[in-house]
């Protein structure tokens, strides 16, 4: 994924604000072989229990984010969530619950309330695993 420091900082800030619970949200921008993440669309973690270890985004949240994206000529290009006191790598649950190949999944690790490593992943076409994506930042994006 190609994105900006501004976007990554917004994700870090959200992750720190919800610590020790997981945060989650959408990445909006331009879809492609390399997705462009122009901005985030925050949503509440709808998980009823165990929000320290699980997150849920409802279809209604997806529809609202999709409308937000379309209103700005953008696409939903992926999602982000945090791993409080765990590494920034997809968990077995992340793989079990993975949606479609092509979305970028950003994971930010938070230790003692402070955001740390931030990584990007994409589900393999055969759905068997996540592959790490390169996460590059530029000052501005063509789709901005």
């Amino acid at each position: 994924m190609k994105t900006t420091e501004h976007v990554l900082n917004a994700i870090r800030k959200h992750a720190e604000a919800t610590y020790p619970e997981e945060c989650c949200g959408f990445l909006l921008g331009k879809a492609g072989t390399v997705n462009e993440g122009v901005r985030i669309h925050r949503v509440p973690n709808r998980q009823q229990t165990n929000r320290e270890r699980r997150y849920t985004i409802t279809p209604e949240d997806y529809r609202a984010a999709d409308q937000d994206a379309r209103d700005h000529d953008q696409d939903i290009v992926g999602f982000y969530h945090s791993h409080p006191d765990h590494p920034a790598k997809p968990s077995p649950t992340d793989l079990e619950e993975a949606t479609f190949p092509g979305y970028t999944y950003i994971i930010v690790s938070v230790h003692n309330g402070e955001a740390g490593a931030i990584t990007a992943w994409r589900l393999a076409a055969d759905r068997s695993q996540f592959h790490q994506e390169q996460l590059t930042t530029t000052r501005s994006l063509s789709s901005q």
């Binding site: 529809r63 649950t93 479609f100």
Partner: protein
Amino acid sequence: MESQKTSSVKIRIPTPLRSYTNDQSTVAVGGATVEEALQSLTQAYPALEPHLYHENGELRSFVNIYLGDDDIRYLNGPDTELPDDAELSIVPSIAGG
């Protein structure tokens, strides 16, 4: 019972799945019910099937189908009958750990 007629249905495709539908954001199919429309979709674009359905033929749990603004779970599920010019959307719910 009157015989079901086949309706013309538009299905909105989430961005990453458009690589399986020749980059089309909406696909027009025929079908009298939601299930028939989805079958027409996966027959036309078989590469979509493993992302929408489990091997046992059930829709994956994160795949939600909307008829207009309504989740079909709150209508008549896959048997929901479709009016002509119906618009269906494939809407994922997202979860993880």
